[in-house]
Every structure is written in C-alpha cells, then in structure tokens.
C-alpha cells in the first residue's frame, strides 16, 4: 500500500513481496514475489550473489513500460551451506544438587548459560562487526535478572519508565534471543543460517528458552491485558492455552 501512496505522489516504486495473495489484491505498481520465508526478503543470509540476483530482479521491474506488474522470482532460497550444524546445549549444569526452588535452580543454570556464551558473543562481534542486541537498553546481566524475577518473585517493576512495560519485556526477550543466536552461530561447526534448526535449538535445548516459557506463564496470569499479550514465545513452541472456563483459572503446580 505504501507503494501506491508514493506512486500517487510521483515517485516510481518497485518492491519485494512475500505474501502473494496480499499482493494480488493490493496490486502495487511493481512487485517481485519471492518464495522465501518471512523475515528473509532477500532469500539467503551471507550469500551476496543470491541477494544480488533477487535485488536485480526487483530493480529490473522499474524498466517495465506499464503495470501493475507482479512477477515471480523463479528460484527457492539455497539451503544453508555445508554439513548440518551441530548446535549443542550451550551449558550443561553440574550434577550436584543445588540449593533452592525449581525456579531458582533454573535461573542459576540460565545465568551460567548466558555467561558461557559470552566468549562466542565476543567472537561474533569481532567477526561480524555488528550485533542486533540492544533494543531493551539492558545489559545481559540485567536481562537475566529481569526475566528471572518473573519466575522467582513475580512481575518486576519496569526497568525503563519511558517504554511501556509490555514492550520492554518483549525487547528484553528479543535481545536475549539475538545474543544466543549470534553467539552460537559464531562457533565452529554451528555457522548455520537454517532458521528452523536455530529456533528448535533455542526453544528446546537452552535454559533461556525455558526461562522465557516460564515468564510467559507469569505474564498470562497478569491482570494487565498488555502484559498478558506480550508475545514472548512463538506459537509453535508455546504450550496450548488452557480451555476457557468460568471463574478463576485453575492453579498450576510450580514448574
């Protein structure tokens, strides 16, 4: 729709389109539909040649004499190169029993896991000269404490008063995920761009994933609807919502 407004104001546009049925209805002036996953309009990370092909196909639409034009990009994104990545559990806790409740033990393991990834985060920064961590404006230690307090004490105060609390939880969770993904993909043998493998690893194999699942449970019980709706866990990794019942929700055993 943006393209229609711009074009009405006299600017020529071309665009990449991910959801073809939407583009068919909106009929932007020039659109290249690409068969890539959402979040990857240029197709393949770290693959300049493929990105260039996609980009040129979109730019070439500017040369069409008339429109609207909706063209399909003919290639699927190349699969992640090399061997299947070995994404190990980042932190294996010591076997001796630690003190505390289940939530406290989980948080101890989580914080140790965060610390154990730090050298790889530093390598990632050095290698990529960039990081996407930082929207929450909290350090990783502050993010760890903030998220753990959901599990141990209940919903904590907002660490940033200029941002709505529900947004800040989300940014903290996003920073945590970015820290983990950037760190693990800097490790030898784990340089994968396979989004499914990375999501499975984060949500099933890390303590961070378990902490976010726990924080989500706490948020869902908040009387504040914005906090209830704070999306911390993607649908495919979130346990199904309990059936709606009249009266107060049943108490769940502490996990």
């Amino acid at each position: 729709m943006l393209s229609r407004y711009l074009e009405e104001e006299g600017l020529a546009t071309t665009q990449i389109a991910l959801v073809r049925p939407h583009t068919e209805k909106i009929k932007p002036p020039r659109a290249l539909w690409v068969p890539f996953e959402l979040g990857r309009p240029l197709g393949a990370p770290n693959d300049p040649a493929f990105q260039r092909k996609v980009l040129m196909a979109a730019l070439k639409l500017l040369e069409r004499p008339a429109g609207p034009v909706l063209e399909d990009f003919p290639e699927d994104a190349p699969a992640s190169a090399g061997e299947p990545a070995l994404l190990a559990c980042p932190y294996i806790p010591p076997t001796e029993v630690t003190e505390g409740t289940e939530a406290e033990k989980l948080c101890q393991c989580f914080k140790a896991e965060v610390a154990s990834l730090r050298p790889w985060y530093d390598i990632s920064l050095q290698k990529r000269q960039r990081s996407t961590v930082g929207v929450s404006k909290l350090s990783m230690k502050e993010i760890g404490d903030f998220l753990c307090s959901f599990l141990i004490q209940g919903i904590p105060p907002n660490p940033r008063t200029e941002i709505p609390f529900a947004s800040e939880i989300r940014y903290a969770a996003d920073d945590l995920k970015a820290y983990y993904i950037e760190s693990v993909t800097a490790q030898p043998g784990a340089e994968t761009t396979d989004s499914k493998a990375l999501a499975e690893w984060f949500w099933k194999d890390t303590f961070a994933g378990k902490v976010l699942l726990g924080a989500r449970e706490v948020c869902l019980k908040s009387p504040d609807q914005a906090i209830q709706r704070a999306a911390l866990v993607p649908r495919e990794f979130a346990p199904p919502a309990p059936p709606q019942e009249a009266g107060p929700p049943p108490q769940r055993p502490q996990q």
Binding site: K25, F36, M56, L59, S167
Partner: protein, 154 residues
Amino acid sequence: MVRLEQVSEGERRILENAACPTFETNPWVRAPKLSEARVAIISTAGLHKREDRPFTREPGDFYRVIPGNINSNDLVMSHVSLGFDRTGFQQDWNIAFPIDRLKELAEEKVIGSLASYHYSFMGADDPTRWEQSARQLASIMKKDNVNAVLLVPV
C-alpha cells in the same frame, strides 16, 4: 513463504485473514533508467538506529530515518511480531536491508546512486494509517532527488 503451505497453521490463518483493501486505480509513474536511478530503501521490518526510540504505533509516529552511511552495528529491529524469522537479520543485515548490495550496484554504475536517507516502518500495523506520513515522505525523498524507491517487507 512465503509459500503459504510452509507456514505454521496459526501464522497462515493470520495471513489469509488479513484485510487487504482493493483499489479502483492503478497509479503508475514512469521510472528512470536503472543507470539514472537514485534509490531509497523503505523497509517495513521495524528497523531503526540503535539510539532511536523503538516503534510505538502512536498516531503520526510511523517511521524511522536510516542515514545512508549508517554502520551495520547501529541498525537494530523493534518489530512486535513473532511471526517471522530474525535469525537471518541477526547474521546479515542485507537479508532485510540490502544496502551493501545496492552500494555495489552503485559502484558498478548499474544504478545511479543511493539516497542520503532510507526509511523503515514497522509492519505490524494497518498501513492505511501511514497514508499521510507516506505522502509527506514522498515529498521529502524528492528533495533528496530520489527517483526510485525499493520497498522491502519482512
């Protein structure tokens, strides 16, 4: 996708049920030759400079400005949706903001030049709310001599 059959059922339902308006007219501006195009990127990935405010969706506050000379470490994302992959962007900003590729094309004179500024909206919104901002942005871009806009979704 997005081959829709590859998307999880919940996400697919959201995409299929999204309200998409249809329009009576088909605006069309003749584009310059590629070699004369001065290109600006408009992303809907919720991208902004590290020190900027995250997106709010408050009235009028719909886009962020990305300087053309931005360093890759200074661009972050504060999109509210969990429905798309971010691990690509975490590893390579060109996956959603193809500025290095465009710079290469400008150096090779395939395109004319790159705009002084690029822009990002945050896609989890009703784009009809953006109309005024988009029209104003068009006049600002024209003053930057932009004559071709590349729109990139996530």
